[in-house]
């Protein structure tokens, strides 16, 4: 069925507007002067050099990367185990468990931030790596679980039965059939949790401290004080990194996974 011209116009405008602020940030990052302007009044790598030369920025970047990698790997492992545990579990039990896994999606982030702050302060984990990591594991869990649950559900039951009748013990069915077929889900889960963790700011900003901070939180603090082009340069790096990961997801599993995940989320009772 054809689309009305109005629909097309709105769609095309949005397809321009959605990436527009990001394009402008990238453009402004090449400004040779200390003012943010687009188009930039010239071209220089000055702010990128400043970023690379700053120990504080590089440390924040490295800490973010470490947190994101650890969070992605650990949540993905936890999610695979959980998905296997719930596979073919009684429907009621399964849906109750899934609701609990997806629960962090149902709370406003500002409230989650305060909740973690209070809890981690009691454990004296506030302002450090472990505290932020724990928060990120919890926040990433729904995003890690869903692609794996989707992938697992897409594995036809007859495939595991085929493995069994060909002689496989349950463990062999798992390693030779189920896990290889889960690969797209695992890849999506890793990339997805990495992005969530690497970008998270609303909850994380309650939990960072003088010894430990993440890149988005540093950017936020910096913008809050002064918006100079070094932030634009760092932001551009983040934008390109994210775009790269999106293309990687597209290559490895296809962007369709984002849509399937959404569908899965709506089928889980909330």
């Amino acid at each position: 069925m054809g689309l009305s011209p109005a629909t097309r116009i709105i769609a095309v405008l949005l397809l321009i507007l959605l990436p527009a602020p990001l394009i402008i940030v990238i453009g402004a990052s090449f400004s040779p002067r200390a003012v943010l302007a687009f188009p930039p009044p010239g071209f220089s790598w000055r702010w990128y050099l400043e970023f690379l030369g700053s120990t504080a920025w590089i440390t924040a970047f490295a800490q973010s990367a470490v947190i994101a990698i650890v969070a992605a790997v650990v949540t993905t492992i936890i999610a695979v185990l959980a998905a296997l545990a719930l596979d073919r579990a009684p429907a009621r039990l399964r849906s109750a468990a899934e609701t609990a896994i997806l629960a962090p999606l149902l709370f406003p982030h500002a409230a989650i931030g305060i909740a973690f702050l209070g809890w981690l302060s009691m454990l004296h984990l506030n302002g450090g790596f472990i505290g932020v990591l724990m928060a990120h594991l919890i926040l990433c869990a729904p995003f890690a679980y869903r692609p794996i649950a989707v992938s697992l559900r897409q594995i036809d039951r007859s495939l595991t039965e085929a493995a069994t009748i060909l002689g496989a013990e349950p463990r062999q069915t798992l390693t030779r059939v189920v896990l290889p077929l889960l690969r797209p889900g695992i890849a999506a889960s890793l990339l997805f949790s990495f992005i969530i963790s690497f970008d998270e700011v609303t909850v994380t900003m309650f939990l960072t401290g003088p010894q430990f901070t993440t890149l988005p939180v540093s950017i936020y603090t910096h913008i809050h004080d002064s918006a100079d082009p070094v932030v634009a340069a760092i932001s551009s790096v983040l934008i390109l990194l994210t775009a790269g990961l999106v293309l990687l997801i597209d290559r490895l599993v296809g962007l369709r996974i984002f849509i399937d995940i959404e569908e899965e989320g709506r089928h889980a009772p909330a």
Partner: protein
């Protein structure tokens, strides 16, 4: 087998328990430390009431804008042959950190930002229009930040629809508009409502975007909580406000959830 399943689920159960303890601790703490009197104070404070009201209407408007704009885009994507290409333009900005995207709008909307400079260069204005640090800026920013969530949600339910239903409507004599109104739209309502409740939830709990684009004058609950903690250092008040935020989010989202359940009941017969 049973014991095996429990062991597999144990790590995920620990994450769920940690989250439950954090949220439970938040609510418990707000009553034990601050007490009911604290809530009475908050609810009689004109500033807090204004913040509360602003949170409600900005979140509601953001949700409305998101749905109205996302629908045509989702429709366009659902019908497009180059969906994957366009999806990159929707998903990449979606996954870039909120701080970076908000920063992009600061560059666009600032007094010396792209919009004001362009208008000045065109001779349309003499003095810059104040756009940053207004509720309008917050609305624009939040809509931009959350739009992709709704696009993906609606797209997912559009793609699930059998295209032949629309063809059936057309062959039965329905016009393009009638077909949309009576077939396409009703069938995509689960996606619309699912996306809308997600946006409503996230908008009420947003901190970064309202703080950077709205400034300290036009606060929302999230920003108020942030200020209480990091500027006033009043942890009890922040905790009580976080609980208020939970209640507000719950009250706003509940009708949408009920509606969603109702629609699913009639459409899927479950």
């Amino acid at each position: 087998m049973k014991a095996g399943r429990v062991a597999l689920f144990a790590p995920m159960a620990m994450l769920i328990a940690a989250f439950a303890v954090a949220i439970g601790g938040l609510i418990w703490g707000s009553f034990t430390k601050g007490g009911v009197g604290l809530y009475a104070d908050l609810l009689s404070d004109q500033v807090v009431l204004r913040v509360l009201w602003r949170t409600v209407w900005i979140s509601a408007l953001t949700t409305l804008f998101c749905v109205v704009l996302a629908y045509p885009l989702a429709l366009f994507l659902a019908r497009s042959k180059h969906r994957n290409l366009w999806l990159i333009l929707v998903i990449s900005p979606w996954l870039v950190s909120i701080v970076v995207r908000t920063f992009g709008w600061m560059v666009l909307l600032g007094n010396r930002g792209v919009v004001n400079m362009t208008l000045r260069d065109l001779g349309l204005i003499d003095a810059p229009i104040r756009m940053l640090f207004t509720p309008t800026a917050v609305l624009i920013g939040l809509t931009h930040v959350f739009l992709p969530f709704v696009v993906i949600a609606i797209l997912s339910s559009l793609l699930q629809q059998d295209r032949r239903l629309e063809e059936a409507s057309r062959i039965l004599g329905g016009t393009r508009w009638q077909t949309f109104r009576r077939v396409t739209l009703p069938l995509s309502m689960p996606g619309v409502i699912g996306g809308a409740s997600l946006v409503l939830l996230m908008a009420t709990g947003a901190i970064v975007t309202p703080l950077l684009l709205g400034g300290l004058r036009d606060r929302m609950l999230g920003t108020q909580i942030y200020t209480e903690i990091f500027q006033v250092f009043n942890f009890e008040r922040a905790t009580a406000m976080a609980v208020m935020l939970l209640v507000v989010a719950l009250v706003l989202v509940a009708p949408l959830r009920l509606l969603e359940a109702r629609i699913r009941q009639t459409q899927e017969g479950v």
